[in-house]
């Protein structure tokens, strides 16, 4: 309850790892390994979240109320081991949006300064 009243901007800017994780969870709950995989895929393998970085961020985001644990179940695509799944909270969703807007603003500014000539506008 209290969390939804908090200003999402108070947590900005997010760490790169934090934003990656929020992004990975934006389209549904995932377990840690899946988060890591998605981040790696999206960044063409450039960002590889190590276990310490990933779970350190998850720990802090849990306590900030950005994400929550959903449940623990086997991932049918991998093996039969039980995995803990995480999903965005409503507050996490708003923080992710705010961060995306912040970044978009930066990109606009860069474009206005002709720093992104070789990229087409979205």
């Amino acid at each position: 309850m209290r969390k939804s009243q908090r200003d999402p901007n108070s947590l900005l800017p997010l760490t790169p790892a934090g934003f990656h994780i929020l992004l990975a969870l934006a389209d549904g709950e995932k377990h840690g390994y899946a988060v890591m995989q998605e981040v790696a895929k999206r960044s063409q393998g450039k960002v590889r979240l190590g276990p310490g970085t990933l779970y350190g961020s998850i720990k802090r985001m849990l306590s900030e109320g950005l994400i929550e644990e959903s449940d623990e179940r086997p991932d049918p695509e991998m093996d039969d081991e039980r995995r803990r799944y995480y999903r965005l909270t409503e507050f996490g969703q708003r923080v992710a949006e705010a961060e995306a807007e912040r970044l978009a603003g930066l990109v606009d500014a860069a474009r206005a300064k002709m720093l992104l000539r070789h990229l087409k506008p979205a």
């Binding site: 377990h31 390994y33 190590g50 276990p51 310490g52 970085t53 350190g56 720990k59 995995r83 803990r84």
Partner: protein, 882 residues
């Protein structure tokens, strides 16, 4: 095979996870392992060995980066929580921090002394190979007395001993230094060839002595000065080398400055070459040291010295019989005077610290009982036992670190106080006592250890709490029998330690008190003494000294406010001595077994001024001159021992071995015994020869330093300046120094004892205070825990008197147990003090009984106050507490 490989790398990964905090691992460890396993499979599929290598590299880097962060986060949380807690309970915090500050501070202060005096490396290269050499005199029996070498012995060792790389000697000299503000006095060491090489030191500015300068001796007119001399007397002149200074009226060139802290031997400020006489086998005045050849042990060198000493005795029986040669490690020779007292003080502050720890542990334990609910709630919220332990430790270590920081400040102040207490002579060494990095590291470690120790006591109790029990129990919290036992054990320990401390301090106080109040045989009231040194250059002729003394005494006696003045070679308030072997007329003379007396040289008027009584015969007068019959006064103890039942007046004695036919001295009187407090019980018998006669060759040794003592009718401190001026009217180049007056005699002469006693008393008072506080705390706590029980008892008809006795009985038991253990400990430990106690036995029953009584009384009072409060409990209120 593959499977095995997997499980091995997983095991390694699991081990690596231990770098993370327990709670983090507990929460995410399994997922992290899963993730690692998955990635490893993936990498193996794609990249083979290179991929696996890359995976390990990334994983290690990741853990190294993130694990410390997790720990820091917890630490920050715990520190934040602990700080809030400290602020919330300011009273508790203040008591705990102050207790720890006193304990750690006392240890830091004494450790800084230990560090400076015992631990810090000597300012010599390869000090392990450096040894001091002595002649060991067996003339007084026993294990022998260490004295300096005769010059001939030194040269013999230097030529014959193969064990040494080099051998060098030095002799102490006091020179007058002409300064703008009047003649000053400087301790200058005359050193033999290769002295600097033997010690392994080099000047930090300028150069050492050249071979030519060493050969020329004092004629070379060059000196090395100490760092302190450069800073203090030359004002830190940027170009000290090449400056000239006037010593004993002759100009000398400074050729170098020695390193900071180099004052060897003890308190020297200046060094110059000196030529020694290889043919002189008599006076044992040379201090020598040698550097062992690499690989030669001290035992081997000593064995060689033994052979040389036998050879010397055969060759020069008249001077070397009764002497052997001895070698000791230089470090031992430098520290042995101070070692016992410093180590004892270290033990004492150690005890204070243990008491402080026990007190703080008590406080924390009591508080942890109050906080049981808090811990139970945390545990219910998922904090692991380890996490709770960690938080408790953070709290106690934080307390201890704050206490330690305060303690270092306190220590800084104690050290300054110590330096101020000591006579100037000793502050040279104390200059080196300061809080340096070693000391700070020591304090930090102590604070850490203390914090961990006092934190562990309650932490372990907390971790044993049974969660459900506690939550069920509701508001009422109790420590349970285990907690009480622990509290009681801590209190018993505190009392025992405090008792040992008090006993030690009590013995030292008794000793000092008796020392200060012993009858010295003379009066110290309105007495001033000062030392005067005759420069060899201008006072080589004895008659010059005699004339000076006569003229100076005349002028001083004529001063207003002076009621008497006299001169003596060794004043009772010094630790110097000069012994003479002598023979009685008509008895066989055996130089080896000649009886010894304290040899004193005095001017007429000395005894009258000192108020030493004349028992029979007559005083010296101005008529006892170098032309008249040689005379001597003997002390009562000497008269008793050598002429029992006879009148010694008219008997004759003389110095042996009789160099060039020492003349017979006729006893003209008997004077009262005078005690020289710092000499202890060596030899009581003393004789006195007139100053005017002592300077004749063959009678005795030349006396180049004298003490002038005056008795004043006015404030002695006021008289000092006029006395100095009177001396300088006779000779304005003479250094006058070490002025000691009136009450400060004791302060100056027994001050090392006084300082250690003051410290001992302070520490034991601190220990007592803390122990009593501890008892009081525990008793109050016990009463507050039993309010309910007391209420029931009173409701059932118990009288206040019963309650009082019931509570007191428990306190008395603890106190008596503590006192009994403490007494046993004190008996065991005070043995080590016996060398410091000249006036009192180390097992002095009066001290033991007194201290035990005092402690028991104070401790019982500390129990009584809370017990009395218990009797005021209103049964109804106590029962309603439920």
């Amino acid at each position: 095979m593959m499977k095995k490989n997997h499980s091995r790398s997983e095991r390694i990964f699991r081990a690596l996870l231990r770098a993370f905090p327990f709670d983090f691992r507990w929460k995410h460890g399994r997922e992290m392992e899963q993730m690692f396993r998955q990635r490893r499979k993936e990498e193996e599929r794609q990249g083979g060995a290179m991929g696996t290598l890359k995976l390990w590299w990334e994983t290690l880097a990741d853990i190294a980066r993130t694990a410390p962060r997790e720990h820091l986060e917890i630490l920050a949380q715990d520190v934040g929580f602990a700080l809030r807690l400290m602020r919330k309970n300011l009273g508790f915090t203040a008591v705990a921090v102050l207790t720890l500050a006193l304990g750690i501070g006392a240890n830091t202060a004494i450790f800084s002394v230990v560090n400076a005096v015992l631990l810090r490396p000597l300012p010599f290269a390869d000090e392990d190979r450096l040894v001091r050499l002595y002649d060991l005199s067996h003339r007084e029996g026993g294990e022998g007395v260490r004295v300096g070498h005769s010059q001939r012995n030194f040269f013999t060792i230097r030529e014959q001993a193969q064990s040494f790389e080099s051998v060098a000697a030095q002799a102490y000299q006091v020179l007058s230094l002409t300064l703008d503000e009047g003649p000053g006095r400087v301790v200058c060491i005359g050193v033999s060839e290769s002295w600097l090489e033997t010690l392994g030191v080099q000047p930090i500015r300028g150069r050492g002595f050249s071979p030519n300068e060493e050969k020329a001796g004092s004629d070379s007119r060059v000196v090395l000065v100490s760092y302190g001399f450069w800073q203090r007397r030359l004002g830190g002149d940027p170009a000290p080398v090449g400056r000239t200074i006037v010593l004993d009226g002759q100009s000398h060139t400074i050729i170098g400055v020695m390193p900071r802290g180099f004052n060897y031997p003890y308190g020297s400020e200046m060094w110059r070459p000196r030529v020694f006489d290889p043919t002189n086998g008599r006076s044992h005045m040379l201090n020598a040291q040698a550097r062992l050849k690499p690989g030669v042990t001290r035992q081997q060198a000593q064995a060689e010295l033994d052979i040389i000493s036998q050879r010397l005795e055969r060759e020069y029986p008249e001077t070397n019989r009764g002497y052997t040669l001895l070698l000791r490690a230089t470090r031992d020779s430098l520290v042995d005077n101070n070692q016992t007292v410093i180590l004892l003080l270290l033990v004492a502050v150690g005890f204070v610290l243990v008491i402080a720890c026990a007190n703080v542990a008590n406080l924390l334990l009591a508080r942890s009982v109050m906080r049981q609910k808090e811990f139970a709630v945390r545990a219910a919220l998922g904090a692991s036992r380890f996490r709770q332990l960690r938080q408790l430790l953070t709290e106690s270590i934080l307390l201890s670190l704050v206490g330690g920081a305060l303690g270092v400040l306190f220590a800084h102040w104690v050290v300054r106080f110590l330096v101020a207490l000591l006579p100037r002579r000793m502050s040279d060494i104390m200059d080196e006592v300061h809080i340096d990095t070693t000391v700070l590291v020591f304090s930090l470690l102590v604070a850490f250890a203390v914090g961990a120790l006092v934190g562990l006591v309650p932490a372990f109790r907390v971790s044993r709490f049974n969660l459900q029990e506690l939550l069920k129990e509701g508001g009422r919290s109790g420590a349970g029998s285990g907690g009480h036992r622990l509290l009681s054990a801590l209190v018993v320990g505190e009392i025992a330690l405090a008792l040992v401390l008090l006993t030690g301090a009590g013995l030292m106080v008794q000793n000092l008190y008796r020392l200060q109040n012993s009858d010295l045989g003379f009066s110290t009231e309105n007495l001033v003494s000062m030392q005067i040194a005759f420069p060899e250059a201008t006072y080589a002729d004895p008659s010059a000294r005699i004339i000076f003394v006569q003229q100076a005494l005349e002028r001083v006696r004529a001063l207003p406010g002076i009621t008497g003045a006299g001169v003596i070679n060794i004043f009772p308030f010094t630790d110097g001595n000069r012994l003479a072997g002598f023979a009685l007329e008509g008895q066989p003379e055996d130089p080896d077994r000649a009886p010894m007396v304290n040899h004193r040289v005095v001017s007429p008027g000395y005894f009258g001024m000192m108020k030493v009584p004349l028992v029979r015969g007559r005083w010296f007068t101005e008529r006892d001159s170098s032309n008249s019959q040689p005379v001597v006064l003997v002390s009562e103890s000497m008269a008793r021992r050598y002429w029992p039942g006879e009148d010694p007046v008219g008997k004759r004695v003389r110095v042996v071995p009789s160099e060039a036919g020492a003349p017979w001295l006729t006893v003209v009187g008997v004077v009262g015994d005078v005690v020289q407090p710092r000499l202890g019980d060596d030899i009581e018998e003393t004789w006195y020869v007139p100053y005017a006669q002592s300077l004749e060759p063959g009678t005795s040794w030349t006396v180049m330093e004298i003490y002038l003592a005056v008795r004043t009718a006015i404030d002695p401190a006021v008289a000092v300046d006029s006395v100095k001026r009177a001396i300088w009217q006779v000779d304005k180049t003479l250094p006058v120094y070490d002025v000691i007056s009136g009450a400060s005699f004791y302060a100056e002469t027994i001050s090392p004892k006084r300082v250690s006693t003051i410290l001992g008393v302070c520490f034991s008072a601190l220990g007592l205070f803390m122990a009593v506080l501890g008892i009081y705390g525990v008793a109050s706590y016990a009463v507050s825990q039993r309010t309910h029980e007391i209420g029931i008892r009173m409701a059932l008809g118990a009288q206040p008197g019963h309650i009082l006795r019931w509570i007191l009985r428990q306190g008395i038991l603890l106190v008596l147990l503590g006192v009994a253990i403490g007494l046993a400990g004190a008996v065991a430990l005070t043995r080590f003090m016996s060398s410091l106690l000249s006036e009192v036995e180390a097992t002095d029953p009066v001290t033991f009984a007194g201290v035990a009584f005092l402690l028991a009384a104070v401790a019982l009072l500390a129990c009584y106050l809370p017990a009395r409060r218990a009797t005021k409990v209103d049964p109804m209120v106590a029962l309603r507490c439920e």
